[in-house]
């Protein structure tokens, strides 16, 4: 059992404060001052976690963060399956983000569906010197010829686009006109904008507002008759099928999901979303902007929900149902009841194996808080958490609804800090990303990737909870962790063997 669980809250707080002081000593003074604002020990009852956030990363510290392009192309736009997303600029950005986010979909890839293709303008020196507008103009013609079933095109700007003064908006307008009003969306998500992925989410949301909502008639491509029970799933990227294991619950309770943003989503679904009666928002961080916009412009209410772990799922189903009539409220109860045997069986199987185990998290979006309930449903304890690109409103939600007194909080953690924290706290599990995975496994600490679900998933919904529980168990209780130290190390020297 890890040290954290054997101590009182006061002891934990003192230890965590000391840990923070120790890591800050490694920095030059100016940097230590800046980093100090991002590290904290949570005090119960406070309205936020006591850290500054959404501030520029410090050069040279090994931040885990990405960029605006990653937030737009990689997160928000990339999963829209029937549109082609051009990585506009040099080859790398599109290459490194090609197929790596596991946004599941169904479609005829390369013919009417394009998620796992890498389209790029592959900038060369001459494009930097003379500008890339001509190239992207021609590129759109070539897309239209070779991929005639695409429903729309987005231009995802990489760093050079904004620096060389290209006018991708003019190109988009011109080509849209030429192709009979085709949806062509310029996105100004150059990687140097903002401080992390987060601004890319916002820019991507605004591009939907300006280039889809404002351009299309609400009836454009959606032919269905509205019902009083129409909802849209916002901020679920269908990683490992998350949106599907969520959708099934909503439909079982009597709602109708008319759009998925953006995992397994389509242009028609984006366009039809203003018909929804309620937008339900999973990843608040990446899609609160468009939810607020739809509330203001179309009067659609939105509510946040959390489909990780049975406690939060039940709470969320009831919360969503509260926006509707008794039919839906009864539906929510029916769904909770239906899945209770699965929940009981999963808990009975895994809780005894996981109870009392401690977890440290460092992830993006909603997960640094949203998954805490799922761990707690399995008897586990999250002792440290932080956001890659959270804002203060994320830390408020975390403080008010999720973390316990004394939890170590680290915003935009550096590689150095995270290593020291884990080394000292020795949690039973670390949940973070691919860049962190092997660092901690080398240290002998079990790890799960909590961006990609470590190639597993779904983790959302009841079906996903079973997989989540199994995965955490197999990480923590893998027999390999008993083998990291050679048996002849730290053991009394064996006497000479008889044969010698």
């Amino acid at each position: 059992m890890s040290r954290a669980t054997t101590q009182s809250v006061a002891e934990i707080k003192a230890r965590n404060k000391q840990l923070i002081d120790e890591v800050l000593k490694a920095y030059p003074e100016k940097t230590a001052k800046r980093r100090a604002k991002h590290l904290s020990v949570h005090e119960a009852g406070k309205s936020d976690c006591g850290v500054k956030s959404n501030i520029k990363s410090i050069p040279g510290v090994m931040t885990i963060r990405g960029c605006a392009y990653a937030g737009s192309k990689g997160v928000v736009w990339g999963p829209i399956k029937d549109m082609i997303h051009i990585s506009h600029g040099p080859v790398g950005c599109g290459q490194y983000s090609w197929g790596s986010r596991r946004n599941y979909y169904v479609g005829t890839t390369g013919i009417d569906t394009f998620v796992t293709l890498q389209f790029t303008s592959d900038f060369q020196e001459k494009d930097i010197v003379f500008g890339g507008d001509k190239k992207v103009t021609k590129l759109i013609d070539e897309l239209q010829e070779l991929f005639p079933l695409n429903r729309g095109i987005t231009i995802q700007s990489e760093c050079p686009i904004g620096l060389i003064g290209d006018d991708i908006e003019a190109v988009s307008r011109e080509k849209s006109k030429e192709y009979g009003g085709k949806t062509i969306v310029p996105v100004r998500c150059e990687g140097f904008r903002g401080v992390s992925q987060s601004l890319g989410h916002h820019i991507a949301n605004d591009a939907v507002r300006d280039w889809i909502f404002d351009k299309s008639a609400p009836e454009a491509s959606s032919k269905f008759e509205p019902t009083p029970y129409d909802v849209a799933i916002i901020g679920d990227y269908n990683i490992g099928g998350d949106a599907w294991s969520s959708r099934i619950l909503l439909e079982e309770m009597g709602l109708r999901v008319i759009a998925q943003w953006s995992g397994d989503g389509s242009l028609a679904e984006l366009e039809a979303t203003p018909k929804a009666k309620l937008n339900i928002l999973h990843c608040y961080r990446s899609m609160n902007y468009i939810s607020r916009h739809m509330e203001e412009k179309f009067g659609i209410p939105w509510c946040e929900y959390n489909f990780f772990g049975p406690s939060k799922i039940a709470e969320s189903l009831r919360k969503i149902a509260s926006f509707f009539d008794d039919r839906i409220k009864e539906g929510a109860e029916r769904v909770i009841e239906k899945y209770q045997p699965l929940v009981d069986a999963v808990t009975a199987k895994y809780l005894p194996r996981l109870e009392g185990k401690t977890v440290m998290l460092f992830v993006g979006g909603l997960r640094p808080r949203h998954v805490i309930g799922a761990y707690e449903d399995l008897g586990m304890d999250v002792v440290g958490t932080g956001y890659e690109f959270g804002h203060n409103d994320d830390y408020q939600r975390t403080a008010q609804h999720y973390v316990k007194d004394g939890t170590l909080i680290y915003d935009d953690v550096t590689g150095y800090e995270f290593e020291r924290f884990v080394e000292n706290i020795r949690p039973d599990l670390v949940g973070s990303g691919i860049k962190e995975k092997y660092v901690f496994q080398k240290m002998g600490v079990p790890f799960r990737q909590m961006h990609s679900w470590d190639y597993s998933g779904p983790y959302h919904g009841y079906d996903g909870f079973a997989i989540f529980a199994r995965d955490m168990d197999m990480a923590i209780n893998s027999p390999i962790w008993g083998k990291t130290t050679a048996p002849w190390k730290d053991a009394p020297r064996p006497s000479l063997m008889a044969a010698e």
Binding site: A26, L143, P160, G191, E419, P458
Partner: protein, 520 residues
Amino acid sequence: MMTQNAEHILDHSELFRGDEYQQMLANKKALFENPHDPAEVDRIREWSKTPEYREKNFAREALTVNPAKACQPLGAVFAALGFERTLPFVHGSQGCVAYYRSHLSRHFKEPTSCVSSSMTEDAAVFGGLNNLTDGLANSYNMYKPKMIAVATTCMAEVIGDDLNAFIKTSKEKGSVPADYDVPFAHTPAFVGSHVTGYDNTLKGILEHFWDGKAGTAPKLQRKANNTINFIGGFDGYTVGNMREIKRIFELMGIGYTILADNSDVFDTPTDGEFRMYDGGTTLKDAADAVHAKATISMQQYCTEKTLAFVKGHDQEVVAFNHPLGVGATDDFLMTLSRITNKAIPNALERERGRLVDAMADSSAHVHGKKFAIYGDPDLCYGLAAFLLELGAEPTHVLSTNGGKGWEKKMQALFASSPFGKNCRAFPGKDLWHMRSLLFTEPVDFLIGNTYGKYLERDTGTPLIRIGFPIFDRHHHHRYPVWGYQGSMNVLVKILDKIFDEIDRKTSSVGKTDYSFDIIR
């Protein structure tokens, strides 16, 4: 009817096949996705397989689809990690560094340490000097590297940041000690590819040590000795390959220096300790490498500038093209022998004999088979040459980052063998071009990296995974593909796929009971 089950937990691959989910997805599509008429989807799919489509596809001028190349800084990071306690530092936007680290870690299943100067809008306007200065100071204090090797993202290149001047100024401001090693290379993503970035970075590091550390130290005077320098180039098999090469050198009794040896940092043990740095070419060896008799590069197109620089320091330079198979390995060893005056030992001759033995045993299964290959230019060349030795036909050889010189060289290779008669090299093309090639001029097997699985699925051409990156199979990088033993590994990979394919095609009971043979 509930599909999920606590006793037998269904993964995504099974869960969504259940009736409830299938019905749900069908409804979603029909009601909300505004799908195309399935007949139209079929029509376009069939059309995309035709010669007519191929012609349009090959007429592309602006669009690249599924390229088989990455950008310069990836190669820069890969090369810099090959030096003792060296921290790669990429000057520019920070998201790039997150991408390089993820990309390399997904291939090697190992940590990749690298930092960024995290430039944002204000740096785009005023330049990134402050970012570089602060960044160097922070990295130096936190991560205690022995050397920080700086490269650039396209952002820093577009705004014209001058690394030489910036590093000087940073040192004057006290970011790192004046005599601290900060070699650098400009690595614009809009020129060349990851192999170019490898080349620029390695040249930058050698230039730093050999030519007076950017004017801060005297240039080294070469005192020729009998050792050789060895450069692997950008290589997804670096872990296995470097160890194999060292074994060969030791068998031959050659004094050697491996430049940019990242085989240990990409292969640290899980024993309770995270080693941010491990192994690598020592800084002393990097400097002393100026005295070597010759420098050998395993991959010409990864080292064009580096070798020109080395040659300028009066060393003999020799470049290979990812030698694979009997003839290419013979050439490699004979070149080593000629330069060092060391005989090729019997142990290696026996290894050669074993490879010939294996090829003789198995060649009937490879002979006459047609292959498509794609990848970095040197790897493509090495694989094609090996296939020709096996009597196979490397029908389509495609390299997105190969140029005209490479094409010529490939065509000359084809012309040297009767099996190369119908083979063709495709420089600068991408995997969507390859798709058309596979539909219009089908081959038996495809060799390439993980992304080839999309081509395998579309065209039915079985994929043999050799290249970079390999994300969806584990541990291949631990096995060498160089030397006679490495060539043996490649042969076995190819044969396994050939036999698996025969089994797959003959495994329906009551229909193809014949040919499902137990002995082959």
